[in-house]
Amino acid sequence: MVEASQEMTQDDHGHHSNTVRLLGRDITVEGGIYTVVFGGLAVLTVIEVLSAEFLKSAIHDAPSAAAALTAIKAILLLAIAIVKSSLVIWFYMHLKDEKRILAVVLLLPLLIAALSVMFVLAVPPTGYSI
């Protein structure tokens, strides 16, 4: 992954360096890590759209496996979206350089929202028949 292997090569968190260490190689590009991250976001978006279109066709062609393929599609696409969001938050919003309290500020509402979704999903649309 892009974010896992890059290393900063300069002070000030590497924000001003045009050289990024990626997969064991030094890459020099205007904008440094920011440009590399943008490239990663673009590539992931292409993969995401192509995967969605491919799996949509597969679901249409194989109705018997539609449920499994739909689940795979949702998990795969959401995983890519979470990676993309994390790249933006980590590098562009500089969360990697900030105090840990800001990560808590970000994650707490997400946790509450996730728990709320699970609670709502646990209730069938027609309610429980007791």
Partner: protein, 211 residues
């Protein structure tokens, strides 16, 4: 909101008058912005949950909508917004390097990207209205309540982009006068907002158009 006086910038960590240092001031600014963004997460989450529940309960309606919507225009729009986020962070980087002219160019490109995104959204909404996908609730309609589930998060996001474009123009106006030459915290505040709007779109694009 982000500007500081020269006196504040040159003040020690805690001077005799109890003033906070520039660094403390900036840390407080960032914490305040992150708390604001946390409140936005809750609001957007509610809208996303509303859509997800509709997606689960009415899969046929959503699949019909997907077949009508297509992904070409919205994918192009997504690239524009991702690029504008890149322009934004490059603008901050330019100002941190003391390059005011470069900052103005990058932030200008950010504003332009936001405007192009809104134009694309307008085109999309026009096409959807032509198909009969509206905010109205009509149980007889094939779309049922898809319109309100779709428009609520996407329009709310679009409103954030609109505010962001105005904010970018204000940052440029202030930046041109040299307000960020000594301390670019004002640009960083706008950047946090703009990148958050980008993150929200990344999730909306996947959940509403692809899944």
């Amino acid at each position: 909101m982000a500007e500081m006086t020269a006196n504040q910038l040159s003040a020690p960590a805690h001077d005799d008058h109890g003033h906070m240092s520039a660094e403390e001031h900036n840390e407080n600014m960032k914490l305040g912005m992150w708390l604001y963004l946390a409140s936005e997460i809750v609001i957007f989450s509610m809208m996303i949950v509303g859509y997800v529940l509709f997606r689960i309960n009415e899969p046929d309606v959503v699949e019909l909508a997907h077949s009508k919507l297509g992904v070409g225009l919205v994918t192009a729009n997504t690239f524009v917004l991702l690029a504008s986020s890149f322009f934004m962070v490059m603008g901050l980087r330019a100002m941190q390097q003391g390059n005011r002219a470069g900052m103005l160019r990058w932030i200008g490109a950010t504003a332009l990207g936001g405007a192009v995104f809104l134009a694309g959204q307008y085109i999309e909404y026009s096409e959807l209205a032509h198909l009969g996908i509206t905010l109205g609730y009509d149980i007889e309609s094939q779309w049922q309540t898809f319109g309100m589930r779709f428009y609520a998060p996407t329009f709310f996001h679009g409103a954030h982009v609109f505010v962001g474009v105005l904010w970018a123009l204000e940052v440029m106006r202030r930046g041109a006068k040299g307000r960020y030459d000594k301390d670019p915290i004002g640009i960083e505040m706008f950047g946090l907002y703009w990148h958050f709007v980008d993150v929200v779109w990344i999730m909306l694009f996947t959940l509403i158009y692809l899944v």
